[in-house]
Amino acid sequence: MTLLILRRLLGFALTLLAISAAVFFLMNVLPGDPAMVILGIESTEDARAALRDQLGLNDPVIWRYLAWLGGAVQGDFGVSYSFKVPVAELIAERLPMTLALAGLATVVTVALALVLGVYAATHHGRAGDWAVMAFSQLGIAIPAFWLSMLLVILFAVTLRWLPPGGFPGWDDPIAALRALILPATALALVQSAVLARVTRSAMLEVMRQTYIRTATATGLSPARVMWRHALPNALVPIVTIIGMQVANLVTGTIVIENVFYLPGLGRLVFQAISNRDLITVQAMVTLFAAIVVTANFLVDLAYLWIDPRLRART
């Protein structure tokens, strides 16, 4: 167990190192001069040269990468080219909102998917099953962008129950939560469509097992059989998909934050790339990679917790 965690931590560090290097060099071969993007097409060559000098863009690429890396391991991610404030500050002011959005979306996704999936499995072949399957087919087919617009038109424009977008900040937690309901729902509906299908098929698989028949035969209630015996044994594929969806969630927030004009990381990375704010993009992509790698690591730990047989093997 400890060995596994140590091995994973080393892998984690190496993955981040590789990704940060890849991003750095890719961003630097990408055509586009940050000074030109910032100062625009009416700028003079000497003003752009002065700005490049200020930003340290005249140093060799390798040197800049090493300097960045040296700072990054000490928690200093440099100063944004375009925002002129420390990158760490930019990320810190936006991270809570994105985490809250992603967290809320995950909770809704998992709750919705488990209920729907289990319901469909227990009503296999009947109308309820078909309804869930139809819902999930729709959820997979509909783009999150379009779904978001439908939600906004219904709940914000027509009914006026919720705001159409924007984020009021954390001073008023109720208002903050209200602002996150529609975007989290838009993210969750799409994600839960996939997860509900996986839950359903995993449950169907488990319910064919003889121990379920035995449990039923001992006189346990169907609900107890379902939640105590069937679901825990169906969790491995479900957790795998949840882990994979974390990566989707990260990319999903970029779209959703633009549609709901939320001040989150997704919108920042979009802006930073178009502004050629290389140093900000660098930190953010590394952060996203860290989130995905962490999620995968947590999934592996979850396997150990779910399935005692795996624990014995390590």
Binding site: D33, G40, A47, D53, G165, G166, Y261
Partner: protein, 498 residues
């Protein structure tokens, strides 16, 4: 309720109660929320060219010596008057007195000198450094007087120093302007949540504060056209002066809650041609392309009919405008004949398109129109940073579609073959110099018309349409400019009926 209030009064110390009352915002406070598509990255217009910085802050937070009104006339601002020497080289400005920056520091001629010297300095990163190039010196002649001496006459000087690039800043606060803009204007910077909103509040100490009707302004950053529409419909936004989607205007026009205004901007949209290209340097080929273009179809398809066609590189709302849209009427047979005459058969062009809706939408229509005239166009949609590098800097393109949004930019054609037009015409350079140095309005008007004709006649580019300014306002909101001669939008004259 009354009982509660009486009990509270009895229980609370008087001082605390007073504090509570003071903290309650005045009921009459008027807040205006303005939607804006482009989000700024920094708030210093003297160090970043992002248009929304000027759009939100110039003449609101920052002020300049002169200002420009909606018709494009130059008016006093921090300079209350000026005189120009007979040779047109020495400008003496008399400054407003009693002006303070929002942090309380006094504004005087030293701040003006500081601002200009900083913009002109060797290591300056001012995005429009070239507008300061004609200046020889800036001298403080009295605490409320400044003298600017030019190296050469410049007919655009007073207009240019009304732009955000020439904002008057203070040495005490300039370093913080990127995040905490400090100026002398009618509104003070209050708060900025990056990615969400920027808040200004009325500056009660402004010299004409009595005429300002809005107490608080909230700019909300909404990039997505569909989201902008939803925000307007839900009543979250009072005004969207630069609405991003012409296709959605009809919906607002049909809705009695809104006023829709279609005005003009300084943006000439052109099908840029690389005049240094082997094929395109032939005027016959450029004329063939011009004849192949059908402007009305492009405007209908790309702008839903909401734009004015142009036949040269000049804004139709300008007094010196000449209508040259008839120079190369849409004529496919003529286009083919001109190509044949030039000895060019089935030419192929690379059309590199920047990521702006007006450009991407026009591209496919133009591709079809040129195909009708026997020309093959390969469309390549590129991202803005790429466009700046490959098209603008390296001239690595045949055709492109771009709006030139600066005022008085007809001078682009005098920039010589190194500019991305690749256009080399010493005659035009001479003409533009004459325009720059001409102070007599009648002569200048004639010269400007000549310049428009020359550019049109030479078919330097395909001239398409003037970028419209699409404004959507909630009923009761007044005072926004219909058309924009400059990048900014003064809010001191804006009002909102409750």
């Amino acid at each position: 309720m009354t009982a509660f209030r009486a009990a509270a009064t009895a229980a609370l110390p008087a001082a605390l109660l007073a504090a509570l009352i003071a903290a309650t915002p005045a009921l009459a406070e008027t807040t205006l929320s303005i939607g804006t598509q482009q989000e700024p990255t920094s708030l210093d217009p003297t160090a970043d060219a992002t248009a929304s910085i000027d759009g939100m802050l110039v003449q609101n937070v920052y002020e300049t010596l002169t200002q420009v009104n909606e018709p494009g006339e130059v008016l006093p601002q921090l300079a209350k008057s000026w005189t120009v020497s007979p040779d047109g080289l020495v400008y003496d400005f008399a400054l407003q007195s009693g002006v303070t920056f929002h942090d309380g520091t006094t504004f005087d001629a030293n701040d003006v000198k500081f601002s200009f010297d900083r913009a002109m300095a060797e290591g300056s990163v001012n995005p429009s450094k070239s507008i300061f190039a004609p200046i020889a010196s800036v001298e403080v002649t009295a605490p409320d007087a400044i003298r600017i001496t030019l190296k050469q006459k410049d007919g655009f000087f007073l207009f240019n120093i009304a732009q955000g690039d020439a904002s008057i800043v203070a040495p005490e606060s300039v370093d913080g302007n990127a995040t905490k803009p400090m100026g002398t204007g009618p509104f003070m910077f209050t708060d900025w949540t990056r990615g969400d909103r920027l808040v200004l509040t009325k500056n009660a100490a402004w010299r004409d504060a009595g005429s300002v009707a809005i107490d608080r302004v909230e700019f909300r950053f909404i990039a997505e056209p569909a989201a902008a529409t939803a925000a307007m419909l839900a009543g979250e936004i009072d005004a969207f002066p630069g609405f991003p989607a012409p296709e959605l205007m009809e919906q607002f026009e049909a809705d009695p809650r809104f006023t829709v205004v279609v005005g003009s901007t300084e943006g000439e949209v052109i099908l840029a041609m690389n005049n240094s290209d082997e094929v395109l340097k032939d005027i016959g080929v450029r004329r063939a392309i011009s004849h192949a273009l059908n402007r009305d179809a492009i405007i209908d398809g790309a702008m839903y009919g909401r734009a004015q066609p142009i036949g040269s590189f000049f804004a139709p709302h300008h007094v010196s405008y000449v209508d040259l849209t008839g120079t190369y009427p849409h004529d496919v047979a003529k286009a083919k004949a001109l190509l044949a005459e030039a000895g060019v058969t089935a030419p192929e062009f690379l059309l590199r398109v920047p990521p702006f809706p007006y450009a991407t939408r026009s591209a496919e229509i133009i591709q079809g129109q040129l195909a009708d005239a026997g020309m093959t166009v390969k469309i390549e949609n590129v991202e803005w940073g790429f466009w700046l590098d490959e098209v603008f800097k390296k001239k690595n393109y045949d055709l492109s579609i771009i709006a030139h949004t600066s005022p008085n930019d007809l001078g682009n054609f005098a920039r010589g073959p190194d500019y991305f037009y690749g256009y080399d015409n010493p005659e035009f350079v001479k003409l533009w110099d004459a325009i720059k140095f001409e102070a007599d309005p009648v002569k200048r008007d004639a010269l400007l018309k000549d310049a428009q004709r020359m550019v049109a006649d030479q078919a330097v580019h395909g001239f398409l349409f003037q970028l419209p300014k699409l404004g959507v306002y909630a009923k009761g909101v007044t005072g926004f400019w219909n058309s924009s001669p400059v990048l900014y939008q003064p809010l001191a004259t804006v009002a909102k009926a409750n």
